[in-house]
Amino acid sequence: MSTTTWHADPALLQAYVAGELDAVLSASLERHVERCPECRGAVRPLADGPLLDEAWAGVRERVESRPLPAAIRLAQRLGLREPSAVLLSAAASLRLAWLSSCLVALGFATVATLMSEDRLWPFLLVAPLIPVLGVAAAYGDADDPFEALAVTAPYGRTRLVLLRTVGVLVTTLPVAGLFGLFLPGPAWIAAAWFGPALAMVPVLMALASFIGPRMAGPLVTILWCGVVLGAVRELPPTWPIEATQQLVYVGLALVALAVLAARSVHTRKIGAAL
């Protein structure tokens, strides 16, 4: 219980509310008002309601806001819209754990490539699959109760998957590209693996529109492993990324994009499996 008998006079309270008191006097008065119900009652009508609401909203803003992940803040500086940044910050495929595991896998693949003589297959096996698996993860689990909200929201799950896909490509490709610079052999190799990587993403998405990402991801992975490992013994190390094969990848990507466009009418319907 408060035992104070002194009370601040109205002029002093008015000056306090107007911010006209110096810091020491203001702090002293605050201490008193905190403990004195009578002065709290006296100061309440003097306060500017809207100003207090605004100040309180500012406090809540500071408390409730959590910083977005560094990669997404960087993307915002490069032009990513704020609402998209909020959505991407929740994507499992853009979390630090996922990106770290990509870095480790790429690191091992690069080191294995550098240690083997005249062979590229460890890097070619892993690097194009990083964005592919990231995109497969970007779909989320269709049975995940959290995804149930995305399904019935006006934003739409298709748009959300596309946004996450772009996010995965933007975060993984440049990093993998840097690792590619360390590869032995001609300089074009560092860029050539982008061909199959970029082609496999629409292929994965087209397959996912029929059989779902859980099946499509492993299927594309197996196919790519077959291409790379099948070429190891008999063919030159650069065979999977040479010009003729790149044309095949472009053709596959075009077919996949056409299928995706045709399927988009279906995948936007109620209850479509995405």
Partner: protein, 286 residues
């Protein structure tokens, strides 16, 4: 009318979840009662545009959600949905989760979005928990987070699958107060196992069993169907739809032939619901 279902069928594999369901809803709160497996969640998912009906006509908020993506999106802009089970990313805070859902609901302007998130947090009494990770909230608090996301944007159609699960009596009372305010201008369709929630909250009740609508009317009308079929007897009575020993030591007898010497009792909504389900009510899980 905000919800118009005509002869709606839905099946999963060989199981028929909904059979020829007709339902028309305007503003106000409608409670959906039924045993497990009656088709309540399926019906709510059809109304929430989460799944499509196999047959029949569905019109929501005056639009046909199957008429194309544009119409579907217009319906979803005015829809709030609380699924029966809602997963939460463990590392998200209450505020972060609601902000994420608000963006999915096209609240693109940051200031307005955050204001809206605070409004629904205040509405469900979770303002103090806004910065807390959802993983650290209690079950009842998590359910209220789920309700808060459904209330974002004051939806004209609110679909709630067992919103009272995990709430204590005080929280249920708060939920009832919140929904009664919302229902002035919106259609609220909720499923529950709690007949007392329906009695306290809903002007209308729909009883669903085996995928069919068994009753559709006011709570008072449903209770009236049990008049003259509920008694208090001194001994257990065979042949009743349901009978149990009450706290006073007497046996409440619902349905069946009039037990000799038993005195008539005022029926409750639960009595009427059990009668509506018939003998199958005796096998309901406790």
């Amino acid at each position: 009318m905000n919800v118009e279902l005509t002869a709606v069928d839905k099946s999963y594999g060989g199981t028929q979840a909904l059979r020829g369901v007709d339902l028309t809803l305007g503003t106000g709160i409608t409670g959906l009662l039924g045993p497990n497996g009656a088709g309540k969640t399926t019906l709510l998912r059809v109304v929430a545009t989460s799944i499509a009906a196999d047959r029949g006509e569905v019109r929501l908020l005056g639009r046909d959600p199957h008429a194309g993506h544009a119409e579907l999106t217009r319906v979803r802009r005015s829809l709030g949905y609380l699924p029966q089970e809602l997963g939460y990313p463990s590392d998200m805070t209450t505020f972060g989760f609601l902000e994420y859902v608000a963006v999915l609901k096209e609240w693109n302007e940051r200031r307005a979005r955050r204001h809206e998130v605070r409004r629904v947090l205040d509405l469900v009494g979770l303002a103090e928990q806004s910065g807390k990770r959802i993983a650290k909230l209690s079950g009842g608090q998590r359910r209220r987070v789920g309700l808060a996301q459904a209330l974002l944007g004051n939806p004209r159609l609110l679909v709630l699958d067992e919103p009272t699960t995990g709430l204590d009596p005080a929280q249920r009372a708060t939920l009832r107060r919140t929904l009664s305010v919302v229902a002035h201008e919106s259609t609220v369709l909720l499923s529950t196992h709690q007949t007392e929630d329906v009695a306290a909250l809903c002007e209308r009740v729909v009883v669903l069993a085996d995928g069919e609508v068994r009753f559709d009317g006011t709570v008072v009308d449903l209770v009236a169907t049990a008049v003259g079929q509920v008694w208090l007897a001194d001994h257990e009575v065979p042949g009743a739809v349901m009978t149990w020993r009450t706290g006073t030591g007497r046996h409440r007898v619902v349905g069946g032939p009039h037990p000799p010497g038993a005195e008539p009792a005022e029926p409750t909504l639960e009595d009427a619901y059990l009668l509506m389900l018939g003998p199958s009510a005796a096998s309901l899980p406790a």
